[in-house]
Symmetry: C2
Subunit: 500 residues, 2 copies
């Protein structure tokens, strides 16, 4: 037993190292790598992934786990928890043949290149045959995993353990018409009619200074993290004490770097705060789901950084650092500016209200594709119809529509829903937090986020994978995923903003 | 045969990837890694080194190589060259037991910490017992490798293949008294007596701009390289098309960042120019020795960037970018300023003339330690006596003397000589180059380095390990290592500068 325990702990530790190394290879690729380094970098990354995957699915690893599982009642509680979770993960990974993993990797690699070309030329037909192959592989994958219920459950489960199509159909089915309704009320309001787009671009140095103040207030530890620059902002973890975020100071849009920094810092605080101690370098020291992860970034980005008290503190900061550009912007003006609703085509640029509609659209289309209700050839048309239905606007090109992002070329089916799940979770967590901390708005208006950090640490960070996402939300908020809370939050905020 | 060839090519490629990954982990540690990331980074690095080492010494690899070696006369020339060199490398690596490698790694890790403390407290006795252990291990290592002649040959060979104590004793034995003699003539000259230290510190932005101009003139390809910041400047290779150098803008000393950038760019140009094509990702696409590598950095740093024509081009650049600081500095003043001779204690800050004396001092002390002519306890005293002999100055503390750098704590015995070998090679290469290119000084004075780059590519870069260092120098310069050429170069330059 001792030998098996030693083996699985060593293996988990080395798998953590493989993960950290892959994260560094990826981070560097997105931030500092010279342009021509990309060819060999791809090979280095794929070698590391293969070596790690070989270990996860090795018979030696599995035999040790089976042995420990049989001796389960003689294990300490900690060991038992780890063995159980690890065996689940390993059994799932072993369901998928290595040849399939390699085929998927090659297919998506070609699909990515095709997608880039299709997007540039606005020609969906260049991408379509690749997407068809990917969908075939996704269905094949569902066959390997074979979770109960809808085949798509097997895809969902990779990102949101335990989540099902039934639950999401219910929640998204209720959420979607309400979002459309709120949006309609807003776009027909007098305030909306008079609304002017906020055109404002801070200098790079000004943006940097503001991001630096922000991270200090959010207490992101400087000796355990960094902020760098990449085209698309992201968060990545090299080690327990080395979590990095990126932003982009050149992006269009009001305060894009500032809000992406809040968002990624929310992810990073979670990663840095995750359960460690005796669970360090084990399968338990991780997030239970992407939805929970996203709830942490959305909570900071939307519930906090787009709240009025937040701008009580930050409006003077902006005015101080960029007095010319921010002239006449008091906290009220800022609050309105950062909460403008404006239906648009591109998900990543969407406002807080319409964002989830973009996500639900993908979920519905993914289900239709997996269920063979629609063909890939029909996809652009279906996309355009849906977005017209949801947002009242119609893309002029497929680049603005179905080709807008790379996710489908990467085979990330089942992934989009986590964005909406995270947003709903965020609203539930924030509601509960405000109930427990009645003076919170005042503290936020002083730039003091200690209470929320401590609360998140106690109610989310510290669990790691000791509980599922659903269990964490139920324990903290008294109920599981509930989009009604999100709808109430939106109505309270946006009806007031738009005087509806 | 096909199977064995496939195996060894795949293995070399993956070993290149391991090397590139380790390089990135190390580069990041020195440049961007958050402070607290160091613990897990050390584990990641040691895991990668272990995995690579396991492959190098694996029986499977060796058996394929032996098989191919037996079939040697049926191989293509390229395959034969690769198999021969690879088998040599692998056989050498297999002489050293893994347990020894691990023991050395642990010993040097503890020794590094002890050295840091000893240096800070100026207390050699804290470091001494660790150094004793390291020297025992070095001797053990010589026993494993067992090259003919002096035991130290086995240490030298790791850095300078084929180099021996006999050759170095002859060359360094001749070089040392001549350097001391030149130094004496200079320090007693009237020019030296009147010489004022050049105190000048450019702003970080000014230094950056000058380094950027420099790299552009040196034609370091921007899409295949980068310049970053670290405490100690270095060059490292992530991939064939991704070589990175660092500098330090905060260091004391005249133009420290500028000269370290020239130096590292010299290394980087070599790495980027190394034999590729059919030899890409093989054991042949590498430098044959550290001496040859160092010859590339020293040639650019000293023979070019400390030459008068170089300052014909760069003096106006400096004056343009930092007009206040560089007021009154014409090319003559610059030339004198960057070539001041000034005996000092710290090797890395030494001038061109005295630098090799620091290196020869280490070589002599390493030999004495390996031959047990002196004990570790006597080392500080011996150091001080030697440096007094060589440079006429005596360290006041061991931190200024024997504890000044970390190399011995890392077990790098046999490594120091390559600095002097490289410097001598550089003078030989440069002499030959000038003989073939009579208009070169004029081109350098126009900031045009194309001819020297092409010449180095043809005479050094393109060989990779197809020839040994000695063969490259002999083929190009008509003779092997010859310190007389270096002495002549020094006399011509410094007697004129100091009007001796």
């Amino acid at each position: 037993m001792k030998e098996s325990l030693d083996f699985i702990y060593k293996e988990q530790k080395e798998l953590s190292h493989f993960g950290g190394i892959a994260a560094l290879l990826g981070w560097d690729q997105m931030t500092y790598m010279p342009q021509k380094g990309s060819g060999e970098r791809a090979e280095q990354l794929s070698m590391i992934s293969r070596l790690a995957h070989e270990r996860v699915i090795s018979d030696e690893f599995y035999n040790h786990l089976k042995k420990l599982d049989e001796l389960s009642n003689t294990l300490t509680e900690k060991d038992r928890i780890i063995v159980t979770k690890l065996k689940e993960d390993v059994e799932k990974a072993r369901k998928v043949p290595s040849a399939f993993v390699e085929k998927m990797s090659k297919t998506t690699s070609l699909a990515y290149t095709a997608w880039e070309e299709a997007r540039e030329k606005n020609k969906f037909s260049l991408f379509a045959p690749h997407l068809e192959k990917i969908i075939e592989l996704e269905k094949q994958y569902c066959d390997y995993i074979k979770l109960p219920g809808h085949p798509y459950n097997s895809l969902l489960d990779d990102y949101e353990e335990g989540m099902t199509v039934d639950i999401l159909r219910k929640e998204f089915g209720a959420l979607r018409p309400q979002l459309v309704e709120i949006l309609k009320k807003i776009t027909t309001s007098a305030v909306y009619q008079k609304q002017q787009p906020v055109k404002m671009k801070l200098g790079v140095d000004q943006q940097k200074e503001l991001c630096s103040i922000l991270l200090k207030q959010m207490k992101l530890p400087a000796d355990r993290s960094r902020l760098d620059v990449s085209t698309h902002p992201f968060t990545t973890t090299m080690a327990d004490d080395d979590v990095r975020i990126t932003t982009n100071y050149e992006r269009e849009g009001l305060l894009s770097s500032f809000f992406s920094t809040v968002h990624e810092a929310g992810h990073a605080l979670y990663e840095l705060g995750l359960l460690k101690g005796e669970y360090k370098n084990t399968v338990i020291s991780d997030a239970p789901s992407l939805g929970i992860h996203e709830s942490q970034s959305r909570l900071w980005e939307n519930m906090i950084a787009r709240s009025k008290p937040f701008w009580t503190y930050f409006a003077p900061m902006f005015n101080k650092i960029a007095p010319d550009i921010c002239k006449g912007m008091n906290k009220e003006v800022w609050y309105h500016a950062v909460n403008q609703v404006r239906p648009s085509f591109i998900r990543v640029e969407a406002d807080e209200l319409t964002y989830c509609l973009h996500v639900i659209l993908r979920f519905e289309l993914e289900l239709d594709l997996i269920e063979e209700k629609i063909t890939v050839a029909e996809l652009p048309q279906c996309w355009n119809e849906k977005i017209t239905d949801f947002l009242g606007i119609t893309p002029k090109t497929d680049t603005e529509g179905v080709l807008q992002d790379m996710h489908w070329s990467g085979g990330d089916f089942g992934y989009f829903p986590t964005y909406a799940i995270g947003t709903i979770y965020a609203s539930q967590l924030f509601k509960q937090f405000l109930k427990e901390h009645t003076t919170m708005r005042k503290k936020i208006s002083q730039g003091n986020f200690t209470a929320i950090l401590n609360w998140l640490s106690e109610h989310v960070y510290q669990y790691g994978r000791l509980m599922t996402a659903d269990e964490i939300i139920k324990k903290t908020c008294g109920e599981g995923l509930n989009s009604k809370v999100f709808v109430t939050y939106l109505k309270e905020k946006y009806y007031l903003l738009y005087e509806v």
